[in-house]
Amino acid sequence: MGLLAWTTIGVILTLAIFSFLIKDNPLYKFAEHLFVGVSVGYLLVVTYTQLFIPRVYQPTKNAFNSGDIFMSIWMIVGIIIGIMFLTRLTEKHNWLSRYPISITVGFYSGFAIMPSLYTRVLRQLGATVSEDGVSMINLQKIGLFFKNPSWSTLYEATYGPLIVIGVLTVLIYFFFSFKNTNPVIKYTRKPAMVYMMVGFGAAFGYTFMARISLYVDRMNFIINEWWPLVRVKLF
């Protein structure tokens, strides 16, 4: 009976959220506030059990117990910086909270430089020039298409050049230092837009299908999980 009760609550909450499609109503407000409350409570528990205990309390305790002075000082400094964030709650000392904020923002900004340059810039451009040691503009494949024209040879011949043209034109599109009347910007703008819109269209379709699958999952929950349970338990 407990399972039926919880599953029924799940169904009611699902329908309450869907009721927003008609208009805002008390049922939706109840589900929304419950959802928000649960998420904040969940975050609190997760932070305590998966962050505070294993990353702060336990290492500090271990450092003190093992007499590791360097680690103890390191942990205490970290804890003090963390506590400084809580000074936001006071009017007099809330300026102290700027220190942990600036440390965090500074650290992550600096930390992002190398991985971003390496993975998002250099390696991506490398992959635009050649893939698995084969040049993206492969004259042999292009020649093969002219010798033996077919859909597969056309695909092989155009695959690399299309990627190269796409990368270069879209990269030029995101130059902000030149006027739109600049010939390079002017003539690459439209092809770049076409490339982006084709990419966005594909992404839209793909993600839309993923959203539909979420809806199907909810309906599956109501029709194939909850309803059979109701029939077994009540009828």
């Binding site: 927003f20 805002d24 407000k29 589900a31 929304e32 959802f35 928000v36 649960v38 998420s39 904040v40 969940y42 975050l43 964030f85 936001r88 909270s97 904020i101 965090t104 923002v105 992550y108 900004s109 930390f111 992002a112 430089i113 190398m114 971003s116 340059l117 390496y118 810039v121 250099l122 390696r123 451009l125 490398g126 635009t128 020039v129 050649s130 040049s135 993206m136 503009i137 004259l139 190269v164 990368v167 270069l168 990269l171 030029i172 995101f174 130059f175 902000f176 230092s177 030149f178 739109n180 982006m196 990419g199 966005f200 269209g201 992404a203 839209f204 793909y206 993600t207 993923a210 959203r211």
Partner: protein
């Protein structure tokens, strides 16, 4: 004669017995394999690679066993145990431990009469390097880029005119705030749903400064909805500073910048609820978004708000393009803060970014031409 025949048969029997014994000796297996432990180059001293090459034929010995230990306080701790089926192929396994300078011991075993017998042992002490030479090109690129930033920031500070082309969506920010002011409705700003480490969040917080300043000038109420606790602190600081720079610190209310909810969809439902109840005149969705993007954009559209969105999440840009009035695509989000504020630091950075991109474009085109003639020098040493 019969005696000789009997003797011959007996001797045959005896020899056949010997022959059987000799076969038995032939089948006595000597396990052979290459076991190599190799420290991983260019790491902090925690990685190593185990290579195991069976040297027996698969029909001689079908299975080997490997055990890898790490030595901690003179005690061997088993870190991995595995069975290797002999297919005559070399097995390579990249592995890692938590600490540098750890003594690793690898032992190879085989099974005989149900008993597991060790036949090979290798050990290695993992070593760390100070410099990752494999990423030298990225390091040089970073130095070059940072130097360019310094040069262009200096130029911007010296008062040199730095041109930035018009970005369509950004021109509409003032109009959107103006419209909300005329209608007597609040402005909603959502700086994405990602953490403070995300570049898009940082860019969005920069734009928030300009939007906050404009909102304070127009004395329009603004609500900033946040999903991440750390972003909340930064956003509150940014908005307060914006109100102060507009000369209206009295209008700043800390509760207007608030944590709507912690979870992704909980945040989406809270933001949707807030939009429906407060009916904002303009909604800014700038930053990193995931699946909640369309939910937020559609709700803002349903309450009749002007929506200006921007993200670098390629999977979410299509939804913003479909549902919002103006969309900043990818890097336009990063350029927006410089365009709006005209601050020398941001303008200089944007210029440096542009010229660095130009340099990379030239290198890529050059690499393409060189690659065509079989010279892979750029791909090998710069773009890999």
């Amino acid at each position: 004669m019969r005696k000789y025949i009997i003797l011959f048969l007996i001797s045959l029997l005896v020899f056949s017995a010997f022959a059987q014994d000799t076969n038995k000796l032939d089948k006595e297996i000597t396990p052979k394999a290459e076991l190599v432990l190799q420290d991983r180059a260019n790491d902090g001293g925690t990685g190593f690679t185990l290579t195991f090459k069976p040297l027996n034929k698969p029909e001689e010995l079908k299975t080997y066993f490997l055990r890898i230990y790490k030595e901690v306080n003179q005690e061997e701790i088993l870190i991995r145990e595995m069975k290797v089926d002999n297919r005559g192929q070399t097995v390579k396994m990249p592995m890692s431990v938590q600490k540098a300078d750890t003594n690793i011991i690898a032992r190879a075993y085989y099974q005989k009469d149900g008993e597991v017998i060790e036949f090979k042992e290798q050990s290695l002490i993992t070593k760390g390097e100070w410099v990752d030479t494999a990423r030298l090109s990225a390091f040089i690129a970073a130095i070059l880029f940072i130097s360019m930033i310094f040069i262009y920031v200096k130029k911007a500070r010296s008062g040199e005119e730095l041109f930035v082309r018009r970005i369509p969506g950004l021109g509409e920010i003032n109009d959107a705030i103006g419209r909300a002011t005329e209608m007597g409705k609040p402005v909603f700003y959502i700086p994405g749903t990602s953490t403070i480490r995300d570049v898009a969040t940082l860019a969005s917080l920069n734009i928030l400064r300009s939007v906050g300043k404009k909102v304070a000038e127009y004395t329009t109420p603004m609500k900033v909805l946040i999903q991440r606790p750390l972003v909340l602190g930064v956003a509150q600081e940014v908005v307060q500073e914006a109100y102060m720079s507009a000369g209206r610190p009295d209008l700043y209310n800390e509760d207007d910048v608030y944590l709507a909810a912690a979870g992704q969809f909980a945040f989406a439902s809270a933001a949707q609820g807030a939009m429906v109840r407060e009916k904002p005149g303009a909604v800014f969705l700038l930053g990193m978004f995931w699946a909640e993007s369309l939910l937020l954009a559609e709700t803002a559209n349903s309450v009749g708000a002007i929506q200006i969105a921007g993200t670098d999440a390629t999977s979410q840009i299509p939804f913003f393009i479909a549902a919002c009035d103006y969309t900043l695509i990818g890097e336009e989000l990063y350029a927006a803060s410089a365009y709006l504020s005209r601050e020398p630091k941001l303008l200089g950075t944007l210029k440096a970014q542009d010229y660095f991109k130009g340099l990379l474009l030239i290198i890529t085109i050059l690499a393409l031409f060189l690659d065509l003639v079989g010279v892979e020098i750029i791909v090998k040493y710069i773009l890999s």
